[in-house]
C-alpha cells in the first residue's frame, strides 16, 4: 500500500528542497564576483516557501495527518514553520554583507542555512521519535559547519568543534532515551506513546529513565543550565549572523520539539516532567542572568541572556500537566514568547553586526557614545534591549506577561514560587541590558572616532522588520496572542 501524500500540506518542504537544489546548482555556475546572486536567490526561495504556508492557512481543514499520524500539519506546525522561515530570512538578510565582506563561501553558506531551516520546518510537523531525530540532525549538522565558517579564526574553530561534540553527545543521549521508551511502549509515534504512558506501561521505571534522557538531551539543545556550557563559547566564536540564528531559530526548534514531546507524548508522567522542568527553569534563569551580569563582551552577554530567556520559556513546561487550562495557556505562552523573542534577539544581534562593522570589536565598552554619532542604531538597540528586559511598551513585556500568566493560571505553591523567581530574574536581567544602554547614551566615545556607521540596505531591512514587530507587539499584542492561542497542539 502506498502511503498517503498530501502534497499541499508538504508543499513548504518541497519548495525548500527545490530551492536548496537550485541554490547549489547556481552556485556552481555563477562566477566569484556575482555570488551575491546566490544569496538573493536563497532569499526569494525562502519567501516562496511562505506562499504554501499561507495557502494552507487559507484552506483550513486541520489537522492534515500523514503516515499514520507521524507527520501532522496543523495550526501549530504552520505557525512555527512560518516563524522559522521568517527568522531564517532575517538571518539571511543580516548575513549577506557580512559573508561577502569576509570573503567566505557565499553559495555554500546559503545552501547550509537553507538546509538547517528545512530541518526546522520538518521538525515542526514531526509527531514521531524517528521524524524528530532525523529533522534534528538535518537542522544541526549544517549548523555545526556554519559555526566554524570563519575557518582562519581559532575561536570559530573552537565554536564549531564544541558545538559538534556536544551535539553528537546529545544525539546519543536522546536516542538512548527514545530506545528505552520504544522498548517499553512498542511505538515511536508520540500519540501511541502517550496512550501507553497514561496506562499501565507508564508506571514502569524504564519509562521514567527514558523521559529523563530525552528531556536532558533537549536541555542541551536549548542550552538550559546545567547543560549550557557549550553555548557561550559557540556563540562567541561563530560568525555573528549564525550566532543570531543559533540563539533564535535553532533554540526555537528545540522548544518546538520539546512542546510536541511534552504536550503530546509524555503528558501522563507530569510527576517526572514537572519537577525536572521546575529545576531546569529556575537554574537556567538564575544562573544565566547572574553570569550575564559579569560579561564584558556583548556577544557573550547576549549568549548568557539568551540562556536566561530560555529559562523563562521553560517555565510553562514546569506546570505542563496541572490542568487542561494550564496546558492551553502554557502552550500559548511558549509560542508567543518564541515569536517575540525571535524579533527582539535577532534585532539585537543585527545591531551588534552593524556596530562591529565600524568598531571591529564586540566589547561593551566599544558601544560608548553610540547615541552621539549613530542615534538611529542606538535608539533601535535601546528598543531591543528594553524589550528583552520586558519593559512596556516594547514587545518583551507581553511575552513575560504570558509566562507569568501560565504559571499563575496553573496555581499552587510551586507554580507561584516559580513565577516569583521569574519576576525577580526579570529585574536582575534589566541590570545588564541597561548597562549596554548606559554605555551607548551616558558614556563618551572611547577612541573619539565619531565617523557614522554605514549600514548596508539588507541589514537595515532586517533591523526594520525586527523593530516594527517589537514595537507593534508591545502596543497591540492582540495579533500575536491570537496566533498563539489558535495554534495549540492537537493531542
Amino acid at each position: 500500500m502506498t502511503p498517503y501524500f498530501d502534497y499541499h500540506a508538504l508543499a513548504p518542504e518541497f519548495v525548500l528542497t527545490g530551492v536548496l537544489v537550485v541554490v547549489l546548482l547556481v552556485d556552481l555556475i555563477v562566477d566569484e564576483t556575482r555570488k551575491y546572486l546566490v544569496t538573493q536567490l536563497a532569499g526569494v526561495g525562502l519567501l516562496a516557501a511562505m506562499v504554501p504556508i499561507l495557502t494552507l492557512v487559507a484552506a483550513g481543514d486541520f489537522p492534515r495527518s500523514m503516515f499514520g499520524g507521524a507527520y501532522v500539519v496543523d495550526e501549530f506546525a504552520l505557525l512555527v514553520k512560518g516563524l522559522f522561515i521568517v527568522s531564517g530570512y532575517v538571518v539571511l538578510l543580516m548575513s549577506s554583507d557580512y559573508i561577502a565582506a569576509g570573503d567566505y563561501h557565499e553559495g555554500e553558506y546559503s545552501f547550509l542555512l537553507l538546509s538547517s531551516i528545512l530541518g526546522m520546518v520538518v521538525i515542526s510537523s514531526s509527531r514521531d521519535f524517528i521524524g524528530i531525530f532525523v529533522a534534528l540532525e538535518l537542522l544541526s549538522i549544517p549548523a555545526y559547519m556554519l559555526a566554524g565558517w570563519r575557518k582562519r579564526d581559532l575561536k570559530s574553530n573552537e565554536a564549531s568543534l564544541k558545538y559538534y561534540l556536544l551535539g553528537v553527545l546529545t544525539s546519543g543521549v536522546m536516542l538512548y532515551g527514545m530506545s528505552l521508551i520504544y522498548g517499553a511502549t512498542g511505538s515511536t509515534l508520540l500519540r501511541a506513546i502517550r496512550t501507553a504512558v497514561d496506562g499501565a506501561a507508564g508506571k514502569e521505571p524504564i519509562i521514567a529513565i527514558g523521559i529523563f534522557f530525552v528531556i536532558v538531551a533537549f536541555a542541551f539543545k536549548v542550552s538550559a543550565v546545567p547543560f549550557h556550557f557549550w553555548a557561550p563559547d559557540t556563540y562567541e566564536g561563530a560568525p555573528t549572523p549564525i550566532t543570531a540564528f543559533l540563539s533564535v531559530a535553532s533554540k526555537a526548534a528545540g522548544f518546538v520539539a520539546l512542546m510536541q514531546l511534552v504536550y503530546v507524548g509524555f503528558l501522563g508522567r507530569e510527576d517526572i516532567v514537572q519537577p525536572m522542568f521546575w529545576v531546569l527553569a529556575v537554574l537556567t534563569m538564575t544562573v544565566g542572568n547572574l553570569i550575564a551580569l559579569r560579561q564584558t563582551n556583548v556577544v557573550r552577554l547576549l549568549a548568557y541572556s539568551s540562556i536566561a530567556q530560555a529559562g523563562f520559556i521553560l517555565v510553562p513546561f514546569a506546570v505542563a500537566g496541572s490542568n487542561a487550562r494550564a496546558i492551553q495557556s502554557g502552550q500559548t505562552a511558549i509560542l508567543v514568547y518564541l515569536m517575540i523573542y525571535a524579533a527582539m534577539n535577532l534585532g539585537a544581534f543585527g545591531i551588534v553586526i552593524a556596530v562591529a562593522r565600524k568598531t571591529r570589536s564586540g566589547e561593551i565598552s566599544s558601544y560608548g557614545g553610540l547615541g552621539s554619532y549613530a542615534p538611529g542604531l542606538a535608539w533601535t538597540m535601546t528598543a531591543f534591549l528594553f524589550a528583552l528586559a520586558g519593559i512596556p511598551p516594547l514587545g518583551g513585556w507581553f511575552a513575560k506577561f504570558y509566562i507569568f500568566r501560565a504559571a499563575i493560571d496553573a496555581g499552587g505553591g510551586w507554580a507561584v514560587a516559580l513565577a516569583v523567581v521569574a519576576g525577580v530574574n526579570s529585574v536582575i536581567a534589566l541590570f545588564y541590558y541597561a548597562n549596554i544602554a548606559r554605555e551607548m547614551w551616558m558614556n563618551p566615545v572611547p577612541d573619539g572616532d565619531t565617523t557614522p556607521v554605514r549600514v548596508p540596505p539588507a541589514l537595515t531591512a532586517s533591523l526594520a522588520i525586527c523593530v516594527v514587530v517589537v514595537v507593534a507587539i508591545g502596543v497591540y499584542p492582540q495579533a500575536f496572542a491570537r496566533l498563539g492561542e489558535l495554534a495549540s497542539l492537537v493531542r
Binding site: F401, F404, G423, V424, S426, L430, M442, P477, A481
Partner: protein, 506 residues
C-alpha cells in the same frame, strides 16, 4: 458635547505622544521650533484638561465619567478602559499642569549635555505615562502606563543628571521594576481569582476576591509595587539618590507626579479591591508611614546638600499621605489625596528653587550658601514661602494634607486598633515639629546671613522663572485658603472607596 465625552481622555493621554513624534521628525538645528512644539503640545493637553474640568459632573464625582471601554487585548480580556472620577481628576490635571511649567522652566535651563530634542521627547513620553496611569481603569492598561514612565525617567536622570547619575538612574530603575514584577503577579492573581477580568470597577464591585490568606498575599504583591514607588520606609533608598542626581525638571516631575502613582495605586486598586486584606495590612502600613515621617525628618537634618534635604522631606511628607490612607477612613483618604496634590505643588516648587539656586551658585551645599535674601530677595522670599507651605503652615496648601491626616489617625476605621493609631498620631505630630525644624534650618542656612564673597552677581528671579512659578505659588495659596475647592471634588469618590469600612465616631 458627545464628541468631547468620548475622546477627551484619549486626547489627554496621547496628545503628548503626537507632539513627541513631531519633535522626533523636527530638524535638530531648530531648537526654538522644538521648544515651541513642546509648549504648544503641553498647553493643548492642559486645555483638554480644563475642558474635562468643565465637562466633569461634580455632583456625581464618585462615578466614572468620560468613560471609554473598547477591546484592546481580547486574548487576555484586557480592555482599553479609561475614565475619571473625583480621585483621578485632580491628579490628572496636576500632571498636565506641572508638565507645562516644566517645559516653560526648561526653556533656557537645559542641563548638560543639552540636546533639547531628546529631553523634550522624554518629557512628553513621561506625560503620556503619567496621564495614562491616572485614567486607566484596567489593570493591564494601568501596568503599561505605570511602567511607561520608567524608561524616560531613567534616561532623564542617567543622561542629564549630576555626577553620580549612572548609579542613581539604574538604582531607581531596578527598585521600581522589582516592585512592579511582584505587582503584575498580584494583578494576575486578581484576574484568576476575581472571575477572569482585569477591569478595576468590576473587581471592586465584587467586594473581596479570595480567601483571606490568599488576599493577604495578593495585597502583599500590590504593596511592594506601590510602596516602592511612594516610596515608603524602608524602600525609600532610591529616592534621595534619584532626586539629587536628576536634572531640575526630572526632580520636579518625580516629586510632583511619579511618587503619586504609588499612593494613587493604593487608593485606586489595592484598598478598594481587597478591603479585608487592607484591613489587616493597615496597621503595618500606618506603622511604616510614621517611621517614614520620623526617619525622613532625621534624614533631612543630616543632609549637607539642599536637594537631598528636600528629597528626604519627600519621604516624610509621603509618610503623612500613607498615614492618611492607612486609617481607611474617608477623612484620612481625603487628606491623603489633598496631601498628594499639595506635596506635588510644594515639593515640586522646592525642587525648582533648588535647581535655580544651583544654576546661580553652582553649588547646593548648605554650608556654602547664605544671604540669599540680600543677594536675590525675591528668590529668597519665594523659598521662604515654600518652606512655610511645606512645614504645614495653616493658610497654605500643605496644612490640609498634613493636619487632617493626623486627625484621621485619632479615629481609624472600625476594626483597627484605636490605641495603635492614636500612638501613630502622636508620633506623626512630633514629626510636624521636626518638619518645621529642618525646613527652617534649611531656610536659615540659605537665605539668612551675609552673602559669601565667592558668589557675586547673583541674578534675582527672571521672566521665565516667574512664568513657571507664579501659577504654582498662586495655587498653593488658593488651595490653602479655600481647601473645599479640592475636598468637594474628592470626597464623594473617596466615600465610595471607604464604603467597606464604616468610620468610627463620624
Amino acid at each position: 458635547m458627545d464628541w468631547f465625552d468620548s475622546w477627551a481622555l484619549t486626547l489627554a493621554v496621547f496628545l503628548p505622544l503626537v507632539g513627541g513624534a513631531v519633535i522626533a521628525l523636527w530638524p535638530r538645528e531648530d531648537e526654538t521650533g522644538m521648544k515651541v512644539i513642546a509648549l504648544l503640545t503641553t498647553l493643548v493637553t492642559l486645555a483638554v484638561g480644563v475642558g474635562i474640568l468643565f465637562q466633569f459632573d461634580y455632583g456625581a464625582s464618585d462615578l466614572l465619567q468620560l468613560e471609554v471601554n473598547r477591546s484592546w487585548i481580547d486574548a487576555i480580556n484586557s480592555n482599553y478602559h479609561i475614565g475619571v472620577d473625583g480621585i483621578s481628576l485632580p491628579m490628572l490635571v496636576l500632571s498636565m499642569f506641572i508638565t507645562v511649567l516644566c517645559v516653560i522652566y526648561s526653556w533656557d535651563h537645559f542641563p548638560e549635555p543639552h540636546n533639547p530634542k531628546s529631553f523634550l521627547m522624554l518629557m512628553l513620553i513621561l506625560e503620556v505615562g503619567m496621564n495614562g496611569t491616572f485614567v486607566a481603569q484596567d489593570l493591564i492598561l494601568f501596568f503599561v502606563f505605570f511602567e511607561l514612565v520608567l524608561l524616560p525617567m531613567y534616561f532623564m536622570i542617567g543622561v542629564w543628571g549630576g555626577p553620580n547619575r549612572q548609579y542613581a538612574s539604574i538604582k531607581f530603575f531596578l527598585y521600581t521594576l522589582f516592585g512592579s514584577a511582584l505587582m503584575i503577579l498580584s494583578f494576575l492573581a486578581l484576574y484568576f481569582k476575581g472571575g477572569e477580568t482585569f477591569d478595576i470597577p468590576t473587581l471592586i464591585a465584587q467586594g473581596g476576591i479570595a480567601s483571606h490568606a490568599t488576599e493577604l498575599w495578593i495585597f502583599g504583591g500590590l504593596f511592594m509595587g506601590f510602596a516602592i514607588k511612594v516610596p515608603m520606609f524602608p524602600f525609600h533608598t532610591w529616592l534621595p539618590d534619584a532626586h539629587t542626581e536628576a536634572p531640575t525638571v526630572g526632580s520636579v516631575i518625580l516629586a510632583a507626579i511619579l511618587l503619586k502613582l504609588g499612593t494613587y495605586g493604593f487608593i485606586r486598586i489595592a484598598i478598594p479591591i481587597l478591603p479585608e486584606a487592607a484591613m489587616s495590612w493597615a496597621p503595618w502600613i500606618g506603622g511604616l508611614a510614621v517611621v517614614g515621617i520620623i526617619y525622613g525628618a532625621f534624614g533631612c537634618l543630616a543632609q549637607r546638600d539642599m536637594k537631598r534635604l528636600i528629597a528626604f522631606s519627600s519621604v516624610a511628607h509621603m509618610g503623612f499621605v500613607m498615614l492618611g490612607i492607612s486609617t481607611l477612613t474617608s477623612y484620612g483618604i481625603n487628606a491623603a489625596v489633598f496631601g498628594m496634590v499639595a506635596h506635588g505643588l510644594i515639593t515640586g516648587m522646592l525642587f525648582f528653587l533648588a535647581g535655580s539656586i544651583q544654576h546661580r551658585f553652582h553649588t547646593r551645599e548648605l554650608a556654602r550658601l547664605g544671604g540669599l535674601l540680600v543677594q536675590a530677595p525675591r528668590l529668597g522670599w519665594i523659598l521662604g514661602f515654600c518652606a512655610m507651605a511645606s512645614l504645614g503652615l495653616p493658610g497654605l496648601a500643605g496644612f490640609w494634607g498634613e493636619f487632617p491626616a493626623i486627625l484621621a489617625a485619632y479615629s481609624p476605621a472600625e476594626g483597627l486598633s484605636e490605641a495603635l493609631f492614636r500612638t501613630y498620631m502622636v508620633i506623626a505630630s512630633v514629626g510636624t515639629v521636626f518638619a518645621a525644624g529642618y525646613l527652617l534650618w534649611m531656610y536659615q542656612r540659605t537665605a539668612f546671613g551675609v552673602p559669601k564673597e565667592e558668589f557675586e552677581h547673583i541674578h534675582d528671579v527672571h521672566g521665565g522663572e516667574w512664568l513657571a512659578w507664579a501659577p504654582i505659588l498662586a495655587l498653593i495659596v488658593v488651595l490653602g485658603v479655600y481647601p473645599a475647592l479640592l475636598f468637594d471634588v474628592t470626597s464623594d469618590a473617596v466615600d465610595s472607596v471607604t464604603t467597606a469600612f464604616r468610620a468610627v465616631g463620624h
